[in-house]
C-alpha cells in the first residue's frame, strides 16, 4: 500500500495561493522589448535576440514571493503573464479592442486600463514587426488557393506563437558546468576564430558564440539580482527561520547558474532559473524539463549522506519546485489556442524513470518523490511522463497507478521498448535513444541532443485527416461553409465525387492522393516558416547547452544540434478508419444504399437520413471492437500518413509522424462537416489513436487489440491513447495489479503510450453541475491534464461521452 506523505503547511498555503489567483497581464516585458526593438533597429538576427534577452535579464523586475524557496517570475505580480509581441500580436489587439480578457470563459486575465492603453499605443509597430505577420506574408504562392481546406492547420493568421517550445535544453550542463564556464568556452571559440581570421561562414559562427556569451552574462546577472533581492528581504525579515532561508537562498543565487551547483536545492533552483529564462525569451509553451529525477538523484543522495538534507525537507522542496513549474502561464489567443489548452497551462513536461544508457533501470528516490508530489498536490500542470520498461520496479508501478487514480492522466505511461525502437528508426544511436525524454505533449526526443521541434506555422503542426476523406469524396471541396455561411471554394485535388466512384479502390486512391497532396503543402508551409524563424528567432540561450551547438557554432534553429527532426501530428485516425470501412460496408459490400444516397446523406449532415444514420452508427462494424474487417483501415491510413510525413524533410532534416491531438480533436471537430462514420457536423473528432468516442463497445481489451493493428514505431513523434476506466474495475490491490498487467500487455505488443482517466461519468456530470465542489478534480484531456471545471463545455461533454471502459 502506498503511504502518502504529509503536505507541510507552507506547501498547502502556497498551493491555495496558486489555485485562487487570477493572473494579471503584465507589461514589464512588453515595455522593455518594445523599447529595445524600437531603439535598436540596426541590430538584427541572433545579436538582436541575444541583446534583447540580456536587456530583459538586466532590467525586468525581480520578485521573490512570500514563503518561496524556489524563486523566479516573468512579471511584476504573482503568476502574471508576460507579453511576447515579437512572435504574434494581432490577436491581442483584437481581443483588447473587442472585449475584456477578464471575462473569458476560461483562462481570464486582468488587464489594467493603463496597460491596455500602452499596448494599443504600440500596436502599429508590432503589427508589422512580428514573426507571424512575416510568415503570413511569405506563404507560398501556390498554396494560397488551398487555404480553407480544413486539412491543414495553416489558417490561424496572426498566431504563429513560435518557435514552439517543444524542446528540452541540457539542464545537466547548466547544473554541472554552469554558464560561467559556457561563456568561457564561447569566448575561447571566438578567440580561435579570430586567430584564424574571420572569413566566410565563420562570421556566422563567430556571431553565434558572441550571442551565447551575451546570454550567459545575462542569465548570471539575472540570477544574482534574485540573490540581491533575497538578501534585501533577509535584512528586513524579523522571523529568524525565514531570515535564515533567505540568506541561504541569497548565497545560492549568487553562486549557481554561473558555477556548478553544490546541493539538491541549488540544482532545483538552477533548473528553474534556466527554464524561466528560456520562457522569458519567448517560447514558453511546452518547454520541457527532461529527466528531472536523473539530474537530481545524485545531489539528493550526496546531501542525505552528508546530513545536509532530510527526506522530508527534500519532499517539501520537490513540492515547491513542481508548484513553481505549475505557476507560469502565457496569455494566448482565446480561440482556438486557449480553448484547446485551457486551464492556464504551459505544459512544462517532466520525464521520470526509464532505463539508463546501458539499459538498466534508472529510477531513484527522486522518482518516487516526484510521484508523491503529483499524487498529493493534485496539480494539472506540469504534466508528468513516466517511462516504463520490463525492469520497472513494482513499487514504482504501484505508486504511479495510485497517482493516476487520484489525478487523471498523471503520469502518462511511456513504453521504453517501443519508443527507443522508434527513435532508432529515425536515426538516433541506441545510447542516445535510451536517454530520450518526452517533449511538448507526448513527443519522444533524444534528450538535449535532438532538436525535434514540431513545425510552427499556425500553432504547432497538425493535419486533420478526416477532412482529407471529405475532400476525397467531394471532388476536393470542403463541404463546411465558411464563417460567413458561404460555400467554400474548391481547394484540394479534383478526385471526383463518391457517386462517381465505381469501386471501393477508387475511394482509397482518392483519399491517398488528398493526404499526400496536403502533406506536401503542409511541409512547404513549415519549411517557409522555418527559414524565417531561423533568421528572426534564433535561440542562443537554448543553444548554449544543447548538444552539438557549441561544437558546430550554429544555433538550434539553424540546425546546430547533433540530431534533428521535425514533428507532426495527425488528427482523426479513428474517424478515417471508420469512414473508409463504413463506405465499403454500406455502398460496395452490403450495398445497403447507393453511393449517391450515401453522399447525399453526408452532405445533408444526415438530416432526413435518420434510418441510414442509425444503421451506420449501430449496425455497421466500427474500429475498436476487435473485428478484423472493421480494423482493416486503421493500418492503411496510418501507413499512408506516416510514409508521407516520414519521407518529408525540412531545412534541418527529416520529419516524424505522430498522433496526439491535445484537445484539437474537439476544436477541429467544431469546424469539420459530417463524416461517413456517422459523426455529425461539429462533433469532436477521435482522440489520438483511440477509437471513435462511444464506438468501442466491446470493452478495453477489444479496443486495445484493435488499436494494435498498426505499427506505432512508425510514429516516432508520439502516439496518444486515452483510456477511461471505471473506478469499480480497480477496487483493491488486485485491481492495481490488473491495470499494470493491462498496460504491460499493451506495451509488450507494440503500444507506445497510455494515459488513464479512472473516473465515472456520473462524477463528471456532477462536477459540471456543481463546479464549486470539484475544484481539484484533475482529468486527462488528451495532450495534457486539466482541472475538469476549468475546461470549456464542449470539451467537458466530450470527456463524458468517451467510452466508459470496464463496465
Amino acid at each position: 500500500m502506498v503511504e502518502w506523505k504529509e503536505i507541510t503547511p507552507r506547501v498547502a498555503k502556497m498551493r491555495e495561493r496558486y489555485r485562487s489567483t487570477t493572473p494579471k497581464l503584465c507589461t514589464a516585458r512588453f515595455r522593455l522589448v518594445t523599447d529595445f526593438y524600437k531603439n535598436n533597429l540596426h541590430i538584427a538576427g541572433i545579436m538582436r535576440r541575444a541583446l534583447n534577452l540580456k536587456n530583459l535579464f538586466e532590467n525586468i523586475p525581480v520578485l521573490v514571493n512570500e514563503d518561496e524557496l524556489i524563486v523566479g517570475e516573468q512579471g511584476t505580480s504573482y503568476r502574471a503573464s508576460a507579453i511576447y509581441p515579437e512572435f504574434n500580436f494581432g490577436w491581442l489587439v483584437d481581443e483588447l479592442i473587442n472585449g475584456d480578457p477578464a471575462t473569458r470563459e476560461t483562462d481570464a486575465y486582468i488587464v489594467s486600463e493603463e496597460d491596455k492603453a500602452y499596448i494599443l499605443q504600440e500596436k502599429d509597430f508590432w503589427l508589422q514587426v512580428n514573426l507571424s505577420t512575416m510568415t503570413d506574408a511569405n506563404l507560398p504562392e501556390g498554396y494560397k488557393p488551398h487555404v480553407g481546406n480544413g486539412v491543414l492547420m495553416y489558417n490561424a493568421f496572426n498566431n504563429a506563437r513560435t518557435p514552439v517550445g517543444h524542446f528540452c535544453a541540457d539542464h545537466e550542463k547548466a547544473i554541472n558546468v554552469g554558464f560561467g564556464a559556457i561563456k568561457r568556452e564561447a569566448e575561447e571559440k571566438m578567440a580561435e576564430i579570430e586567430a584564424m581570421g574571420i572569413m566566410g561562414d565563420t562570421a556566422k559562427q563567430y556571431n553565434f558564440y558572441r550571442a551565447v556569451s551575451i546570454v550567459c552574462d545575462g542569465i548570471i546577472t539575472w540570477t544574482k539580482r534574485y540573490g540581491q533581492e533575497c538578501a534585501r528581504q533577509a535584512a528586513e525579515c524579523t522571523d529568524p527561520v525565514r531570515k535564515e532561508e533567505l540568506l541561504t537562498m541569497a548565497d545560492s543565487l549568487n553562486w549557481i547558474v554561473e558555477n556548478p551547483c553544490r546541493t539538491y536545492w541549488e540544482a532545483m533552483q538552477c533548473i528553474y532559473i534556466y527554464h524561466l529564462g528560456m520562457c522569458l525569451d519567448g517560447q514558453q509553451h511546452g518547454i520541457s524539463l527532461g529527466r528531472v529525477d536523473q539530474y537530481l538523484g545524485k545531489f539528493y543522495e550526496a546531501d542525505i549522506a552528508a546530513g545536509r538534507l532530510t527526506p522530508e525537507k527534500a519532499q517539501e522542496l520537490m513540492d515547491l519546485f513542481i508548484l513553481k513549474l505549475a505557476e507560469p502561464n502565457k496569455m494566448v489567443q482565446y480561440n482556438p489556442v486557449t480553448i484547446a489548452n485551457p486551464g492556464y497551462t504551459s505544459g512544462f513536461l517532466v520525464t521520470m524513470g526509464g532505463v539508463d544508457r546501458d539499459g538498466v533501470d534508472a529510477s531513484n528516490p527522486v522518482t518516487y518523490m516526484m510521484l508523491q508530489t503529483a499524487g498529493r498536490m493534485l496539480l494539472h500542470s506540469p504534466p508528468f511522463a513516466l517511462r516504463v520498461h520490463k525492469g520497472t520496479p513494482d513499487p514504482l508501478w504501484e505508486l504511479a497507478i495510485e497517482v493516476t487514480k487520484r489525478a487523471g492522466g498523471v503520469p502518462t505511461f511511456e513504453s521504453d521498448d517501443v519508443i527507443i525502437k522508434a527513435l532508432m528508426k529515425r536515426g538516433l544511436p541506441l545510447e542516445v535513444a535510451r536517454n530520450y525524454c518526452l517533449i511538448g505533449c507526448v513527443e519522444p526526443a533524444g534528450m538535449a541532443v535532438e532538436w525535434a521541434q514540431p513545425g510552427g506555422d499556425g500553432c504547432e503542426s497538425y493535419i486533420n485527416l478526416t477532412n482529407a476523406v471529405l475532400l476525397a469524396i467531394n471532388d476536393g471541396t470542403n463541404p463546411m461553409p465558411g464563417k460567413d455561411g458561404t460555400v467554400k471554394q474548391h481547394s484540394g485535388l479534383r478526385t471526383g465525387f463518391l457517386y462517381e466512384m465505381e469501386t471501393f479502390d477508387e475511394v482509397l486512391e482518392a483519399v491517398k492522393k488528398q493526404v499526400e497532396f496536403f502533406t506536401r503543402w503542409h511541409v512547404a508551409n513549415e519549411c517557409m516558416w522555418e527559414s524565417l524563424a531561423e533568421q528572426f528567432m534564433p535561440l542562443p540561450l537554448v543553444s548554449a547547452t544543447f548538444g552539438g551547438c557549441m561544437e558546430s557554432g550554429k544555433d538550434v534553429m539553424s540546425g546546430g544540434a547533433r540530431y534533428n527532426s521535425t514533428g507532426n501530428s495527425c488528427i482523426g485516425l479513428g474517424n478515417v478508419a471508420d469512414s473508409l470501412n463504413i463506405i465499403r460496408y454500406m455502398c460496395y459490400d452490403k450495398k445497403l444504399c447507393t453511393t449517391r444516397e450515401f453522399y447525399d446523406a453526408i452532405m445533408a449532415n444526415w438530416e432526413g437520413y435518420e434510418e441510414l444514420h442509425q444503421i451506420v452508427v449501430n449496425e455497421a462494424p466500427h474500429f475498436g471492437n476487435n473485428i478484423p474487417e472493421a480494423d482493416a483501415y486503421i493500418g492503411w491510413i496510418a501507413k499512408i500518413y506516416a510514409d508521407s510525413i516520414n519521407s518529408s524533410y525540412g531545412p534541418r532534416g527529416r520529419w516524424s509522424a505522430g498522433s496526439y491531438p491535445v484537445t484539437l480533436n474537439t476544436v477541429f471537430g467544431l469546424n469539420t462537416w459530417a463524416t461517413p462514420d456517422g459523426r455529425k457536423t461539429g462533433m469532436p473528432l477521435s482522440d489520438g489513436i483511440s477509437p471513435v468516442q462511444g464506438m468501442d463497445k466491446s470493452g478495453p481489451l477489444a479496443s486495445l487489440n484493435s488499436v494494435l493493428n498498426f505499427d506505432q514505431s512508425d510514429f516516432g513523434n508520439g502516439t496518444l491513447l486515452n483510456m477511461k476506466i471505471h473506478p469499480t474495475a480497480l477496487k483493491g490491490e488486485e485491481g492495481l495489479l490488473k491495470l499494470k498487467a493491462l498496460m504491460q500487455t499493451y506495451f509488450a505488443r507494440g503500444g507506445m503510450e497510455m494515459q488513464l482517466n479512472i473516473i465515472d461519468s456520473d462524477t463528471l456530470r456532477e462536477a459540471q453541475e456543481h463546479p464549486e465542489d470539484f475544484r481539484d478534480l484533475v482529468v486527462r484531456v488528451a495532450g495534457f491534464s486539466a482541472y475538469f471545471v476549468e475546461v470549456f463545455k464542449d470539451c467537458q461533454d466530450d470527456l463524458i461521452r468517451r467510452t466508459e471502459m470496464g463496465l
Partner: protein
C-alpha cells in the same frame, strides 16, 4: 448440428471474476431466484426481449419501426426522455409483456439496438475464438477465462466442452457456480476447472429455500466433494442485509469453509449493491426489492469474524 450454448454476454477485462485479467462468458438460465440478483436477464433459460431506454432515439426518428414490426401489437408509444445532447424530448415506447412472446421482430427493426434479444446461441468454437482474442492479456496478469451464469452447470454439455477446449488451449479456467447441480455434473467438469468460484448464500437450508427457491444441502455437499477431490474453491458470499448478514450465519459459513481446509483459497465478501436494479425494467414490468448496501464498518466486522477462523478473507 454443432453443440451450442445460450449466452447473454461475454465480457473482456472482467476483473471481479477470479485472478488476473479475465474474459467471462455468461450463460443464460438459473434454477435459483435470488431476490438481489444483479443480472435478472440471466435467470430465464429462453431468449428474452430487452429494452434499454437510453438507447431509444424516439419514435419520431425511427418512425415507429418497432411498433409496426410487432405481430402481437405489444408495443405502444409511452413515456419520454430528454436527450442529453440536444435537450429534445423523445417519445419512448412500452412493451406489454403479457402480449410479447419474445419473437424478436421488433429487435430486428430497431437500428439503435434499444430493443434486442438477450440470449443468443453460440457454438463452442465461437466462444473459444472470442476468449483467445484476449490471450496476451491473461499471460501478463495470470488471468484466463471464467464461465459464469446463470448457472453454467445447467447447460452441462456445452459448459463441459467449452472448459475442455479452453484447457486444451492452455487457458486458466474458472467456473462461477451456485453449486446447485447434481454431483455428476460437477464431477464431469472437474478435470477442466482450475478454480471454482463458489457461492454460499445461507447455511440454514430452510431460509435458503424460502429466499432463493432451492435448499442448500446439495450445494454444501458438492463443495465438500470438490474439496475432497482436490479442487480449489474461491468462496463468494453475497452479503445481503437482513438475509445472511447475521453473526450467527457468518460464523456458520466460516466454520463450513474451515471444514473444507486448504481447498478454500480465499473467501470473498461481496456487499450487496443496487446497480442491478435498473436492469429489471429492461426485461419486465416487475419491480424488485431494493435494500441499502451494507456499510463499510459492517463489512469489516464480518471480515473480522471470518478471519477468526483462520480464513483468508477479502471484501469486493
Amino acid at each position: 448440428m454443432p453443440l451450442t450454448g445460450k449466452i447473454y454476454d461475454i465480457q473482456g477485462f472482467s476483473v471481479q471474476d477470479g485472478p488476473g485479467i479475465r474474459t467471462t462468458v455468461f450463460l443464460k438460465g438459473c434454477p435459483l431466484r435470488c431476490p438481489w440478483c444483479h443480472s435478472p436477464e440471466s435467470q430465464a433459460f429462453y431468449p428474452q426481449l430487452s429494452w434499454i431506454s437510453m438507447r431509444c432515439v424516439g419514435t419520431k426518428y425511427c418512425q415507429e419501426r418497432c411498433i409496426k414490426a410487432c405481430p402481437k401489437q405489444a408495443i405502444k408509444a409511452e413515456g419520454t426522455r430528454i436527450d442529453s445532447l440536444t435537450g429534445e424530448e423523445l417519445q419512448l415506447i412500452h412493451v406489454d409483456r403479457t402480449l410479447c412472446d419474445n419473437c424478436g421482430e421488433c429487435a430486428k427493426a430497431c437500428h439503435p439496438h434499444a430493443l434486442y434479444i438477450c440470449g443468443e446461441d453460440y457454438t463452442v468454437d465461437d466462444v473459444v475464438k472470442r476468449v483467445l482474442a484476449d490471450k496476451s492479456f491473461y499471460e501478463h496478469s495470470g488471468g484466463g477465462a471464467t464461465v459464469s451464469g446463470g448457472e453454467a452447470l445447467s447447460q452441462l454439455e456445452f459448459t463441459k466442452e467449452l472448459l475442455r477446449r479452453l484447457k486444451e488451449e492452455g487457458i486458466h479456467t474458472a467456473l462461477d457456480t451456485t453449486g446447485f447441480a447434481p454431483w455428476e455434473a460437477v464431477e464431469a467438469v472437474m478435470p477442466y476447472v482450475d478454480l471454482f468460484l463458489y457461492d454460499l448464500k445461507h447455511m440454514d437450508s430452510e431460509r435458503h429455500q424460502a429466499t432463493v427457491a432451492v435448499p442448500n444441502e446439495r450445494i454444501l455437499d458438492n463443495a465438500r466433494r470438490i474439496a475432497a477431490a482436490g479442487g480449489k474453491l474461491q468462496v463468494r458470499i453475497p452479503v445481503i442485509p437482513m438475509f445472511n448478514d447475521s453473526e450467527e450465519n457468518i460464523r456458520a459459513t466460516a466454520a463450513f469453509c474451515k471444514e473444507l481446509g486448504d481447498a478454500v483459497t480465499v473467501v470473498q465478501l461481496l456487499p450487496y449493491h443496487n446497480m442491478g436494479v435498473s436492469k429489471y425494467a429492461r426485461i419486465s414490468d416487475g419491480t424488485v426489492l431494493e435494500a441499502t448496501p451494507p456499510s463499510d464498518e459492517k463489512m469489516q466486522q464480518l471480515k473480522g469474524i471470518m478471519e477468526e477462523y483462520g480464513l483468508n478473507v477479502t471484501i469486493h
